[in-house]
Symmetry: C2
Subunit: 504 residues, 2 copies
């Protein structure tokens, strides 16, 4: 009996055919969202569709049984629907999240990763991508630690949360190596973080077996910056109650306000109490590329670990997150477990090239390659100009709304600009009488989305002293944004606000 | 002053240009690895290159400073080198890992994900992909639990390790909800697993703050199957010592031998002791698609959680891993933390569409889409024939080496075939005198790689009673494999073995 499968017959031809099928669709998709293109459509972002509606549209149950191989029209119909009903993140109106659109070189990096279909867990199967990850991780880390620090480096993790969680595990394994055998049982560990931190710090504490009781949330000032005197007091008090200080999380670019904690001060307190000092720079860490703004990171060289996500401020395709260490060999030193069926060891190499061995995971998509190629394409200079441009757009928006009736900043001012690339503001339409902005903010946000033009986010104040309800949080983080976009966004908010009725 | 960036000028044109630049390279790359193509080259897998050599080749320091935008020849040179020095996983000789090559529809799914550049953490930015993930997660889960079970479902995690780790956190949060506040402090939790389990179970135990002392490794029989009587005894003993049984890990397709634990029996013991019952089916779980082999999963309907990776046996691009639950709402119920700046809540929806809320992470690459599109393309029938074909190739190999001098199986026989798609065997070349196969196995494996033809893995026996050293572990998991590949592989091993000299 001949054993043969026809499932993957003529792969090269099929792939060539698929390239021809998908290219015009994707190029068209990007054109429609690009103000520079003749095909630009102002509502290309896409309108809101609820889950029930989409479930009906994407109900492919019969085809899932038999497959649609060989039926191009079904395949094209499916792809067209996916593109049509998704949010077109290439649109200048995608101002919702801390990441922006992809870009052409980013698509190329994803295509290469897909073609290689490798796994950067061991060197044997991913030699090139392991070398590039080590190389770019070191270069990146030297921006934060020290240009000449030869020991520093970084690895990617599948998102900022996992980078943060890994840093907690590193802290525990490095400072209390007996926990590898005994767990937390001999300690009452404490973690300290500002009340404006990302939720992954809390989830991380739960995951590593501490629980929320062991997380001490420290007050911030009205701009969302960690109060270091309070931090010192909180640590001192917790020690008196029998806690063992494990880990201080500080933030470079908080999620809501975009604030930067005072890292030099935090470092001193961490040293005083023998605590691990982590910087969650998932969002704001990449200001390191800007000559003008990198001073916000002063003290980063003193950190024990730094999370920073090229997929946010640098436009690398999602997801790409690095955890950087002053001594990169600690990944393997602290996290390795002998798994001889996978990690066979190689003689004469002083660097770790079996990268998964230094993580708490196994299989890894080689996300670092996307960063490497973006860096190679745009250069350090390109990244610098990207960050500076985004800050300029942000400034433009702040200056313009400062003069507009109805707008008021939640944090920052024309003179004292927001620390990062998001602007948090209230908007009250003419005649709006309530103190609380939640209903009008949600209404306008929904209206803008309904028009297919803007997707903007909103949030309550993460400090408990808030009294004006939810506000807009708009993120300016794309090289395609111009002052025209800013003008149009402001006009669109005012316009949508006119339709608000208090009973809505 | 006009604020303008030229970094992403003319994105649509640039993207169209890049498609034209990359398409011939990728198609050529696949052609060279495809025995059906005229351009097939037997050594297309690629030869081994050490890290020092590659570091010299990929030393782009000056270009990283200024960038190479606009310089197509530099870009092409870089891409060509990445392809040239990487392992070509499309080659029929890529038999090393538990995943096979990508396929054309897989590349299309990655291109669409890259174009969408969305983040499946909240519905607002990823409406279609959230609906598709819920839909396919449920359909997938019904294969393991019950066709009619309307409550079941699954979410993706960035690799089997994270799915397993998440299942441990679910177990703790569901069974001992007070741990969310107090951590492990009130308990001395115990985890039980076979000594052949994947290392992620151990790393997971460390990560969740238990430590290796709290992991009880249970003996296996000579085929690597968990001894359930021993499991019962170990749990009983641990209880008498004051441990609280938390979690039993059993495996569908162990990493080295590919064995399946007896899930019906494990379920009974789990119920008896009030333990969470997890199945790590990262590798073997997808036999669920085969009418002939799905009986190996008998009892899976009783599991509390199941990990299964479409990126392994089903040829979906890496990484794509699901954690399936009988009650999918428990993801959010057990793992959610209020984060009102991200999860705004929506009225009238009884399903969770803000998917990150039910995970311990935040940003998520929507890996489920790759699985959805592969399933839609090949159909349930295609997946079934894929799995059955791979088993036939495996059988062909086992039958052929059973008659060949020098070959001996570590586990299984012609009559009692290996349980999964890998074959573990020793090979001793003619005249080889040592009992221990480690040097000859490593030599042959390295030789095959040097020839650019085959990448095969090797491993020590995970049971301590092993006495013959390391053996080959070859994985037959691709629709392009034929009996000709099998014949050629056997001949190549014999041939490479001829060059072995004991002093090597």
């Amino acid at each position: 009996m001949q054993i043969k499968s026809s499932l993957e017959d003529n792969r090269a031809d099929e792939l060539a055919h698929f390239f021809d099928l998908i290219k015009p669709k994707i190029v068209e998709y990007v054109s429609r969202a690009d103000p520079q293109s003749e095909k630009y459509e102002a509502d290309s972002l896409g309108k809101f569709h609820g889950p029930e509606e989409l479930k009906k549209i994407f109900s492919n149950n019969e085809d899932l049984e038999t497959g649609i191989k060989g039926n191009d029209s079904k395949l094209e119909g499916f792809v067209d629907s996916v593109l049509k009903y998704s949010v077109n993140t290439w649109s200048p109106g995608f101002l919702d999240k801390l990441y922006a659109s992809n870009n052409p070189i980013g698509v190329i990096s994803d295509i290469i990763l897909s073609a290689l279909n490798t796994n950067s867990h061991v060197y044997t199967v991913s030699p090139v991508l392991s070398v590039l990850e080590n190389d770019i991780g070191k270069k990146y880390a030297q921006f934060f630690f020290d240009d000449n620090q030869d020991t520093c480096g970084g690895l990617t993790f599948p998102g900022g949360s996992w980078s943060n969680i890994t840093s907690m595990q590193l802290a525990r394994a490095m400072k209390f190596p007996d926990t590898k055998e005994h767990g937390n049982s001999n300690y009452k560990f404490a973690i300290y973080t500002s009340e404006h931190c990302h939720y992954s710090v809390l989830k991380g504490a739960i995951l590593i077996g501490l629980g929320l009781d062991n997380v001490f949330k420290v007050k911030v000032d009205k701009e969302g910056v960690l109060d270091t005197q309070e931090l010192d007091r909180v640590i001192q008090n917790s020690k008196e109650k029998g806690y063992t200080p494990l880990y201080i999380n500080s933030t470079a670019g908080t999620t809501v306000f975009g604030s930067f904690d005072p890292f030099e001060e935090v470092a001193k307190i961490a040293r005083k109490h023998g605590c691990w000092f982590h910087i969650d720079g998932s969002w704001g860490g990449n200001v390191v590329f800007s000559q003008q703004h990198r001073k916000k990171l002063q003290g980063s060289r003193l950190a024990d670990s730094i999370t920073v996500n090229p997929h946010k401020m640098l436009g690398v395709p999602t997801t790409c997150s690095f955890l950087l260490l002053p001594h990169v060999s600690n990944f393997q030193g602290a996290l390795s477990l002998a798994a001889p069926y996978l990690f066979h060891g190689r003689e004469g190499d002083d660097e770790n090239f079996d990268l998964a061995d230094g993580t708490m995971g196994c299989g890894r998509r080689p996300d670092a390659f996307k960063f490497y190629l973006a860096w190679l394409y745009y250069g350090t200079e390109g990244f610098a100009s990207r960050v500076d441009h985004a800050y300029s757009i942000c400034k433009d928006f702040v200056e313009k709304i400062s003069d507009k009736p109805g707008f008021s900043l939640v944090v920052g001012s024309k003179q004292n600009l927001p620390a990062c690339l998001q602007v948090c503001f209230y908007y009250r339409p003419e005649g709006y009488t309530s103190d609380l902005c939640t209903p009008v903010t949600r209404f306008i946000s929904r209206e803008l989305h309904k028009r297919g033009k803007y997707l903007v986010d909103f949030s309550p104040n993460p400090s408990p002293n808030d009294s004006q309800g939810e506000f807009f949080r708009v993120v300016f983080n794309s090289p395609i944004l111009t002052p025209d976009t800013v003008d149009d966004l402001i006009a669109s908010i005012v316009d949508a606000g006119r339709d608000f009725k208090p009973q809505n």
